[in-house]
């Protein structure tokens, strides 16, 4: 916006001026914001003596900076931690890291409060009350590590002795990459096909949409720092999308650190922080993004604005795609579907095609739908149309560090037979043909004993009964499990169902190696090393697995024999081939070679070895699962009308959820800094709201700040209303991250968890949980 100091200055009385409100008046205007406290239930927290106390020291004696990396989200940024007298006091980015160019996001600093969380567990706990359920006190008693590991190992050993290893389920939330490698190795050696990552709740449809086009089934990496134009489809680039700290860094770069400033247009039903910082916000009808993408293709093709060299050299199926776009997706028709005007569609299509290199970015907001794969496919194809595939400023193909290969796990017949059993999540079956793993299906599989009953589950830093839609099913499933072991540094909603809790250390007390999700293109590895000794009696995940494996003996133990011996040794074993151990520990970062663009002969993993506008991958897959169809439309990017959960008459509004930047991704929110800065768009913290358009609020007779019920077909929650201009009138939005009820002085009984009212639905190919197609009604409480 053009401005000069004279016309931008404002007086106290100046009305309508953008800066006529100051911080205090603003705070006053949002004075009600701290009070949103939902109906709470009191759950007994472990006795004070079981909770770790903070060490206290006086006076400065020693001071060290230690390199490690963050794990408050999956970006896993390289950091340096200042330790004074054995206490971590400050976290900064590691300047040697090129993924985020040495920067970290605000959550990086909050690592201190993760480490010194007053509610951390200090010793293993054993349940004495056999009854399980929400609000049922587990009556924990402290036990020693050797007793705890002895009991867990005995259970696991018995299950293997009965030749039923597939009845073990491993669940994991956000873990260090090295710990994840240990978890998957344990599953392989033990003999279970059932390992489920919480990450599969989030990103699967974006991956499968991309797989349809180029055969790669991973997160999409965008060469964001060199692009000239970004069309953002439901992607919270500055709050959620990974690698987050890199996105923040690159935003500064594309705006004002180059001669040409990149333009950003955000298509989203909600006015996100990304929308607020963009050049243009286009509210779109919920679920209609694929139609918009096809209309953009219509304009780009009909006006001859596409990249003919790339299309003719490296793509197949263009003619059918063109035919489809031109005959079904005219801007006029799509304007009616999306609510975006014909002229606007034409204008952004032209801008996008003419401001190359340009990116069409499909975020979680378009992926987590029943038609998520097609949404992502249609949007991904726009990149190919303008030649933004493996080019500077376009889509790039992530490389990962080549850690030293691990020897194949030793396998016995029991393990082999176990792994041949069908998977609990029905991934890769006709139910979810393109799925890597379907986290949310597991709850129903447990409840229905389908395909078989489970005996034991182990959760590694997971909290599915907060993070999965249809959260109540997880309560029931965990209650039903005969034996549940939970590893985490703190009590959580899921830990409440455990028979044994093993207090794991936080990422600041742990050995590990890590790399960021796709984004940078080039490879980078970062170390995790303890900045302080593990507090109290906590133990890292990898060390716990090593100990359990050795107690199990046989092929399980031998699978873990020659790979370093313990967590530190394992990290050293796998990274020493990258760089000398002492260097890695000191520098904290290993950097791969510079990224090479235009690798067209190598990147396409499709039948044609080209980018496919008509998906041969999908055609072959559905043939294999016996679901092949004659209609060619199925294999082309297209718009499918969304089936909503709940009818429009009784439930007139569509519920949307989003993750604010200060939501910590470890499943816990017991961090005062994260809480007090929680909702920057509302100048508020320590709460969340149901956010609704002022027109909608007026028609429902709801005033800003009032308590309301938000009710779906499945459940209802009571929350404070926030009336805003920044949301589509048919949509209401609730931030995730609040609504914890199990424990935690700084999180308990604060706000609500929208997953308590969201129904269970999936993208039919990838098994991606559909978070956004639940309808609700809102009324005064």
């Amino acid at each position: 916006m053009p401005a000069h100091k004279s016309d931008m200055s404002s007086s106290k009385k100046g009305k309508g001026d953008r800066f006529s409100i100051n911080r205090r008046t603003f705070l006053k205007a949002s004075a009600f914001t701290g009070a949103a406290v939902a109906a709470s239930r009191i759950i007994k927290y472990p006795e004070a003596s079981l909770v770790s106390s903070q060490p206290s020291t006086e006076g400065v004696i020693t001071e060290r900076w230690i390199t490690t990396s963050c794990l408050n989200c999956s970006t896993r940024c390289a950091t340096q931690v200042r330790v004074v007298n054995g206490k971590a006091v400050k976290i900064v980015g590691n300047p040697l890291s090129q993924v985020s160019e040495g920067e970290i996001c605000p959550r990086g600093h909050i690592g201190l409060q993760v480490l010194y969380d007053p509610n951390r567990l200090s010793v293993p706990l054993k349940r004495t009350n056999p009854a399980k359920g929400r609000g049922v006190a587990p009556d924990w008693v402290p036990i020693s590590w050797s007793q705890a590991l002895g009991e867990v190992s005995a259970r696991l050993k018995a299950l293997r002795d009965e030749a039923q290893p597939h009845q073990l389920l491993l669940l994991h939330g956000l873990n260090t990459s090295s710990d994840e490698d240990m978890i998957y190795r344990f599953a392989a050696a033990y003999g279970t096909p059932n390992v489920v990552s919480g990450d599969t709740l989030e990103n699967e449809a974006a991956k499968s949409g991309r797989w349809l086009a180029d055969g790669n089934s991973s997160h999409i990496a965008y060469d964001f720092g060199q692009t000239n134009y970004i069309l953002v489809f439901g992607a919270d680039i500055l709050e959620y999308e990974k690698p987050l700290a890199r996105n923040l860094r690159m935003w500064g770069k594309i705006r004002r650190e180059r001669p040409n400033r990149a333009k950003v247009v955000v298509i989203d039903r909600r006015y996100s922080v990304t929308a607020a910082k963009s050049d243009r916000w286009l509210p779109v009808n919920p679920g209609s993004d694929a139609a918009l993408a096809m209309a953009l293709a219509n304009v780009i093709i009909s006006e001859g604005l596409y990249d003919t060299d790339f299309i003719s050299g490296w793509t197949t199926g263009f003619d059918e795609y063109k035919e489809l776009a031109l005959s079904y997706y005219s801007p006029q028709r799509v304007a009616a579907i999306t609510g975006i005007e014909t002229d606007t569609i034409r204008q952004i299509a032209r801008e996008f095609a003419r401001s190359r290199p340009a990116i069409a970015w499909a975020g979680r907001g378009v992926a987590a739908w029943p038609n998520g794969t097609y949404n992502s496919y249609a949007i991904f194809c726009l990149n190919a149309l303008v030649g933004s595939i493996d080019t500077p400023g376009g889509v790039i193909y992530q490389e990962n560090p080549g850690y030293r290969d691990l020897p194949e796990p030793a396998e016995d017949d029991i393990a082999r037979a176990g792994k041949d059993k069908p998977r609990l999540d029905f991934g890769k079956t006709s139910l979810f043909p393109a799925a890597a793993a379907v986290a949310n299906q597991v709850a129903d599989s447990i409840l229905n004993d389908d395909p078989y009953p489970l005996a034991v589950a182990i959760g590694f830093n997971s909290n599915f009964n907060m993070s999965a839609p249809g959260a109540w099913r997880w309560d029931a499933a965990l209650k039903k499990l005969p034996y549940y072991v939970h590893l985490a540094p703190f009590i959580s909603e899921m830990a409440e169902y455990a028979d044994i809790i093993l207090p794991s250390s936080t990422f600041l007390e742990e050995w590990g190696y890590d790399h960021s999700p796709p984004g940078s293109g080039f490879a980078e590895a970062k170390i995790k090393q303890p900045v302080v000794a593990p507090l109290d009696d906590s133990k890292g995940v990898a060390d716990t697995i090593f100990e359990i494996a050795s107690r199990l003996g046989g092929t399980v133990a031998s699978s873990f024999a020659a790979i370093g011996g313990d967590a530190q040794g394992f990290v050293r074993y796998r990274t020493e081939t990258l760089m000398p151990w002492s260097d890695f520990r000191e520098k904290g970062v290993w950097l791969g070679p510079a990224y090479q663009y235009h690798k067209y002969d190598r990147i396409f993993k499709t039948p044609s070895r080209k980018f496919e506008f008509y998906s041969g991958n999908l055609e072959n897959l559905l043939k294999r699962t016996g679901q092949g169809v004659a209609s060619r439309l199925v294999y082309l990017p297209h718009y499918e009308e969304v089936k909503f959960l709940g009818d429009e008459l009784s439930y007139p509004l569509v519920l949307s959820t989003y993750q604010p930047l200060l939501n910590i991704e470890n499943g816990n929110q017991n961090y005062p800094w994260a809480q007090e800065f929680f909702l920057v768009m509302h100048g508020s913290g320590w709460t969340n709201f149901v956010e609704m358009n002022s027109q909608t609020a007026r028609s429902l007779g709801i005033r800003d700040g009032e308590m309301v019920w938000v009710e779906s077909l499945f459940n209802r929650i009571k929350v404070r209303a926030r009336v805003t201009e920044g949301i589509h009138p048919q949509v209401v939005a609730i931030a995730v991250g609040q609504g914890h009820y199990a424990a935690g002085r700084w999180q308990q009984a604060i706000g609500v968890n929208p997953n308590e009212i969201i129904g269970v639905d999936y993208d039919r190919f990838s098994g991606q949980s559909s978070f956004f197609n639940t309808r609700v009604k809102v009324y005064r409480a």
Partner: protein, 228 residues
């Protein structure tokens, strides 16, 4: 003598609030609680505020990082009856906890709402952290190891970093910047000498349009914003 000022590029800013969080860590500013949030007694030396304009669908919200403006004509200094708030020669407005009598005149006088009254009891262990100074080697003794109950406090432009940097002959604004500027992942916050035409802040102000908050109040703030 330098005249320190700050330039915040709102086009680069991502509203991530790393600046606000880093300020809390650097200056041992106590965190709040739900109760203090409701009573509006939580302390923030730095905060990103949201200002909304317009109606759907052309609504917009400006997200503005706000430290103390370090006004050249600071009303808070004028009203303080005991000279607890004063202007240093380098233009930084400082608050002397020992002189402050907690009358809150300055809080009423400040047009930007950046001043805080510390209601915290000193015994509250969590806020008494003599063991947690910032980087003593490069930034000198920490000014706020202990909280002072019943006085007013606010952003200091991290003067402890600047003073130490000058003692060590470092380039202020390049090698040494306030904690918020250091933490900014978008590199949107610039700091330096407004009287030096070659400083990065002066160069930015010469090359871009800029604005200051509530210019009409005649406070002459030394925090400048570069709009989109």
């Amino acid at each position: 003598m330098a005249r320190w000022g700050m330039v915040i590029d709102l086009d680069k800013c991502t509203a991530c609030q790393a600046c606000s969080v880093a300020c809390k860590a650097e200056n041992n500013v106590p965190h709040g609680s739900p109760q203090e949030h409701t009573r509006r007694t939580a302390l923030f030396w730095h905060k990103v505020i949201a200002v909304s304009r317009g109606e759907y669908p052309s609504a917009s919200i400006d997200l503005i990082p706000m430290p103390c403006m370090h006004c050249d004509k600071a009303p808070c200094v004028t009203v303080c009856p005991v000279k607890a708030t004063y202007r240093r020669d380098d233009g930084i407005i400082i608050q002397d906890f020992r002189r402050c009598i907690g009358c809150k005149y300055c809080m009423i006088a400040c047009p930007y709402g950046v001043r805080n009254f510390n209601y915290k009891e000193q015994e509250e262990q969590e806020y008494h952290r003599p063991d947690l100074p910032p980087d003593r080697a490069s930034r000198g003794p920490w000014p706020f190891p202990q909280r002072v109950h019943g006085v007013v406090e606010k952003c200091t432009f991290c003067f402890h970093r600047i003073d130490q940097g000058i003692r060590e002959g470092k380039k202020i604004g390049v090698e040494v910047v306030p904690a918020c500027a250091e933490a900014c992942p978008a590199r949107a916050i610039y700091f330096g000498d407004l009287d030096d035409p070659d400083s990065q802040v002066s160069q930015l102000l010469a090359s871009r349009e800029w604005l200051r908050l509530r210019e009409g109040m005649g406070t002459s703030p030394k925090v400048f914003y570069l709009p989109r």
